[in-house]
């Protein structure tokens, strides 16, 4: 096989329809939407339509949608913006140990500037306990930020419940929905969400564009200062082609959401079923049901993730790992450590994330290849050698 792309949580291929929709906004409709002539006005009108469409998809109003450069910016804006605007009210923020680094590092930054942050533990499936969440709220708590679905293990949090609890205590609720948006249904009103981050390239849209939903009445300071774009809330020349592409990606996601989720889930379950049945000493990570339809994450005991990824890559399979060696750090994934895995097991993790384009043939090829690779790496692993020796001694 040429290439089997199973890293759709990293990014997705742009949908040809999305690309087509964007093209005129590079070649013909290239005006700066902030300009006053009619050439620009038409583009502005189109962007307004996109804003309405995306707002509708989230159960929001169009004036509550602010376009950004992507998920990381949205997370930074939401957290730093609230921290700044509510600093008179309090300096405590609640988040979790399994957030994306865009949230974690932003919180760490704020800690260096006098804020106090509680990082909630999760259970072995990666779930936040609503009771612990409530107990963490203090009089000086101003914001809680809990991701909608985890990027590594796919676990979906009880967002509506956490949002409700936050509101009962007068705390604003932000969710990083980068992995969930366009893949599972989200309604910001019904789910008690005040701020939500999303990114276009995770749903077959272009890279470099995302959004922050800000509920009407929520005051947060600006992050990017400059021009009057996004109603004076987010400066920078409007990324017209990106936003148009984002809009098309959302309209396709809206149409296909259920069908794609069902399709991906079927193939994902086959992947999980075959891998856990055919490769011994494999641990399946994340929640069995409360998970993204396209995510499967495993730890293969006695082997290391980077080695596995290189060998998969040599066979044309693109996947990712929580191994330290792939992140450029000494510690393996903070998410896998948070769900209680020892370092050594966490080093042997591999994540596969499917798309609506993934085929059953690709899944079978992946499992067959994986079996060979895990076998090969185990045959050269001193940990496996010790394990076998120990088992023989016991017997």
């Amino acid at each position: 096989m040429d290439r089997v792309y199973l890293d759709n949580a990293a990014t997705t291929r742009i949908d040809p329809e999305v690309f087509q929709a964007m093209k005129p906004y590079f070649e013909e409709e290239y005006a700066n939407p902030s300009s006053s002539y009619r050439f620009a006005g038409a583009i502005n009108g189109k962007i307004q339509k996109v804003r309405e469409e995306i707002a509708g998809f989230l159960g929001a109003k169009s004036q509550e949608i602010f376009f950004t450069s992507g998920g990381s910016e949205s997370d930074n804006w939401a957290i730093k913006g609230i921290a700044d605007s509510l600093r008179e009210k309090g300096n405590h923020i609640i988040t979790t140990k399994i957030e994306h680094h865009a949230v974690l590092h932003t919180c760490e930054f704020l800690e260096r500037h006098g804020y106090e942050v509680t990082y909630l533990e999760v259970d072995e499936f990666g779930l936040v306990d609503p009771k612990e969440f409530e107990e963490a709220i203090k009089p000086n708590t101003i914001l809680a930020s809990v991701m909608f679905a985890n990027n590594e293990i796919g676990t979906i949090q009880p967002i509506p419940e956490l949002g409700r609890i936050a509101h009962e205590h007068g705390v604003l609720f932000h969710t990083d929905a980068v992995q969930a948006f366009g893949h599972i249904p989200i309604d910001v009103q019904k789910m008690n969400i005040d701020l939500l981050s999303a990114s276009a390239h995770k749903l077959n849209g272009p890279k470099g564009v995302g959004l922050l939903y800000i509920k009407s009445g929520v005051k947060l300071s600006n992050l990017i200062h400059g021009g009057a774009q996004e109603r004076g809330r987010r400066a920078g020349t409007t990324n017209a082609p990106g936003i148009i592409g984002f809009g098309k990606a959302v309209s396709l996601a809206k149409e296909r959401l259920e069908e794609s989720a069902a399709y991906e889930k079927k193939l994902r379950d086959k992947l999980i079923q075959r891998v856990t049945a055919e490769i011994p000493y494999t641990k399946f990570n994340g929640h069995p049901e409360k998970r993204l339809p396209n995510n499967a994450n495993f730890c293969f005991r006695f082997v290391e993730g980077e080695s596995l990824l290189i060998l998969l890559d040599q066979k044309g399979i693109c996947a990712s790992s929580g191994s330290a060696c792939t992140s450029g750090a000494l510690d393996p994934s903070h998410v896998l450590l948070a769900i209680g895995l020892p370092h050594e097991i966490a080093h042997g993790s591999v994540r596969f994330t499917l798309s609506r384009e993934t085929t059953e043939e690709e899944i079978d090829y992946t499992v067959d290849t994986l079996k060979e690779i895990v076998d090969r790496l185990r045959s050269m692993s001193p940990l496996y050698e010790d394990f076998v020796a120990k088992s023989q001694n016991k017997a």
């Binding site: 290391e304 980077e306 290189i310 060696c325 000494l330 895995l341 050594e344 692993s381 001193p382």
Partner: protein, 153 residues
């Protein structure tokens, strides 16, 4: 995986086709070094003849591409050498032989050097000899066994 693409051709060759993988039965010296926490464990087996010459070297490694490649290269470099000469196979020598390593992977070459030393130490202990300039190896604690015991309970 940015740094994987920074691997030299030699590193990729030694990772994809590692030399001397396996065990030596009744080895003259065996050394295991590394730390499961950091994700690298190397075990080196040496067969040393009565003249103190390393006749055979084999390894098993749990670790990243660079860990496998440095183990493979280290076994190649010590083969045919005397015990004293093998002590001169430093991490630098292993790295140079592999045309370099990405900065973050330099520790893998240190591990390869330690693995050689640990196997030589074991050899010296077994034969009650002293090898000049050789220090005892450091062993690390494994947290994994405990985890699986808890899972079974």
């Amino acid at each position: 995986m940015s740094q994987v693409t920074e691997y030299s051709e030699k590193v990729m060759d030694h990772f994809s086709n590692p030399r001397n993988v396996g065990e030596i039965e009744n080895a003259s010296g065996v050394g295991t070094v590394g730390n499961a926490k950091c994700g690298d464990i190397m075990r080196m087996y040496l067969a040393i003849d009565e003249n103190g010459i390393i006749q055979e070297a084999k390894f098993k490694t749990f670790g990243c591409g660079a860990a496998v490649a440095t183990s493979s290269m280290a076994t190649e470099l010590v083969k045919g050498k005397t015990v004293q000469e093998a002590l001169l196979v430093t991490n630098k020598a292993v790295m140079e032989a592999l045309d370099g390593l990405p900065p973050i992977k330099v520790h893998c070459s240190l591990l390869a050097e330690e693995a050689i030393h640990a196997a030589l130490w074991d050899y010296a202990q077994k034969n009650q000899i002293t090898i000049e300039g050789l220090k005892p190896p450091v062993t690390d604690i494994d947290e994994t066994e405990e985890f699986y015991q808890q899972q079974e309970e």
